[in-house]
């Protein structure tokens, strides 16, 4: 596929890996967090970590809206879907995320709730138009990537005077989450040296919103595409910034991202949404001004108002380490449940659900590598 295959060329990857190896200072260590699940997935799938020198470590961040959605909000969605009047429309990623008491949307659907997987907000609108007797609720989730499509759907619903359509809004903001990570990170023993910044989020908001990371926290950021060569080039760019003592926001993904992003998409978001005072993130807790809700002018499409939703915070499975993993403080293999009780077929935590979650990515690609590395180390000793 054009703009995909070129950035997966293994020969080129070897060359870039050699360049990284040649440029790292063997006396220092480099700890980079990739914020996005898309990068985590690419790093695991293409074995990027194996191509990096030993002193370059990748830390997986919280960059997945599915992974950071707290249990209480999934409980809300299940309760909503259990209302016999309601048809709940959701992106497929959310179906298997564990809720309280072992529940999930998938199990609720098996028990008779009308839950439909949609590819796009346009599908949800179509269902609402086709079935005027149903209350169609779109379970909206996502970072700034999925927010403009939700905004457009709400505007269309208003233009068409659809009375049976509403949105259960769980849209969250990446720069704020990055700030929460960096603020919490100040007491971690080993600080991050730089960040690989979001790709597709940045197509919408641009590279500018990450400039505070360089200016206030003194850490370089490279906005990176999601293909393996994009990630490797971004790592090289971070290594160079550190070696040169520089600290800036650089953009590797110039083919799709500009400094200011997509102004049209930003306008649509601003028209329909405003900041919430506070929102709970799995792993980060309550984060001020980190999520969006519908503005008063579109209040009639707000499912929380229409159905009187009052979220009750619910605890994660106590053995699940998702929270620490999302903060970059632990690795999937640090979790006792990993690969035994918790697998992609039987996820106990959100990080095991989507292919971009740290645990799922490591389960699919990394654990074989761990095993063969352990075997090699045993053979060598």
């Amino acid at each position: 596929m054009k703009y995909v295959d070129e950035y997966r060329d293994p020969e080129l990857a070897k060359g870039v890996a050699a360049r990284i190896a040649a440029e790292v200072d063997s006396g220092s260590s480099y700890r980079f967090m990739e914020f996005c699940g898309g990068h985590t997935h690419a790093i695991s799938r293409y074995g990027v970590e194996d191509m990096l020198p030993k002193n370059v470590a990748m830390i997986h961040g919280p960059g997945c809206p599915v992974c950071v959605l707290p249990v209480g909000r999934i409980d809300d969605a299940i309760r909503l879907a259990s209302d016999p009047r309601v048809t709940l429309c959701t992106y497929a990623d959310l179906m298997r995320v564990p809720a309280s008491r072992g529940a999930s949307l998938l199990k609720a659907r098996a028990a008779g709730a009308d839950i439909r997987m949609v590819y796009s907000t346009l599908d949800a609108l179509r269902i609402a138009e086709a079935e005027p007797a149903r209350e169609v609720v779109f379970l909206a989730i996502g970072f700034e990537t999925t927010t403009p499509p939700t905004a457009l759907a709400i505007k269309q619903a208003k233009a068409k005077a659809l009375r049976n359509f509403s949105v259960f809004c769980n849209h969250v903001l990446t720069p704020i989450a990055m700030r929460a990570i960096l603020a919490g990170e100040e007491d971690e023993a080993t600080p991050l040296d730089g960040l690989v910044g979001p790709a597709h989020v940045s197509t919408v908001i641009g590279a500018r919103p990450y400039e505070f990371v360089a200016n206030e926290y003194g850490k370089p950021v490279v906005i990176s595409g999601f293909e393996p060569l994009d990630v490797m080039q971004s790592i090289l760019m971070l290594v160079r910034q550190i070696n040169e003592g520089r600290c800036a926001v650089e953009n590797q993904y110039v083919r799709a991202v500009t400094r200011d992003g997509n102004a049209r998409a930003q306008r649509e978001m601003d028209e329909v949404f405003e900041l919430q005072e506070s929102f709970e993130w799995r792993g980060l807790g309550m984060v001020p001004h980190s999520a969006l809700r519908l503005v008063e002018a579109f209040a009639e499409f707000d499912a929380e108002k229409r159905f009187g939703i009052h979220t009750v915070a619910a605890a994660d499975n106590p053995a699940c380490e998702c929270g620490a993993i999302l903060r970059g403080a632990k690795k999937p293999t640090d979790c006792r449940l990993f690969g035994s009780l918790c697998t992609p077929e039987t996820p106990m935590g959100s990080c095991m659900v989507s292919s971009e979650g740290s645990c799922a990515a490591h389960y699919a690609y990394g654990r074989f590598r761990d095993r063969s590395r352990a075997r090699m180390e045993r053979a060598a000793s």
């Binding site: 590819y119 999925t146 197509t203 919408v204 083919r255």
Partner: protein, 76 residues
């Protein structure tokens, strides 16, 4: 969740919609979020919406930089 795919615009359908080709798969998506989309453009598509245009020149420049980095003499 945030993974988007590059696709080429094959036909403008009106009403902010377009038919695109995603590596052989044809789909109708919304192009209402990107200004002045034209047939032949490559766009980044996520959950049924184009989010941005792919700049062919910048894409080529990125590849050139990658090739350059990969080909640089490594001191041994």
């Amino acid at each position: 969740m945030c993974l988007a795919i590059p696709a080429q615009v094959m036909e403008l359908l009106g009403d902010g919609m377009a038919r695109i080709d995603m590596g052989g798969v044809s789909k109708a998506i919304s192009v209402a979020l990107v200004d002045d989309v034209a047939v032949g453009d490559f766009v980044v598509v996520h959950v049924g919406y184009a989010l941005s245009r792919i700049d062919a020149d910048e894409a080529e420049r990125t590849l050139a930089l990658l090739r350059e980095a990969a080909a640089m003499e490594t001191p041994s």
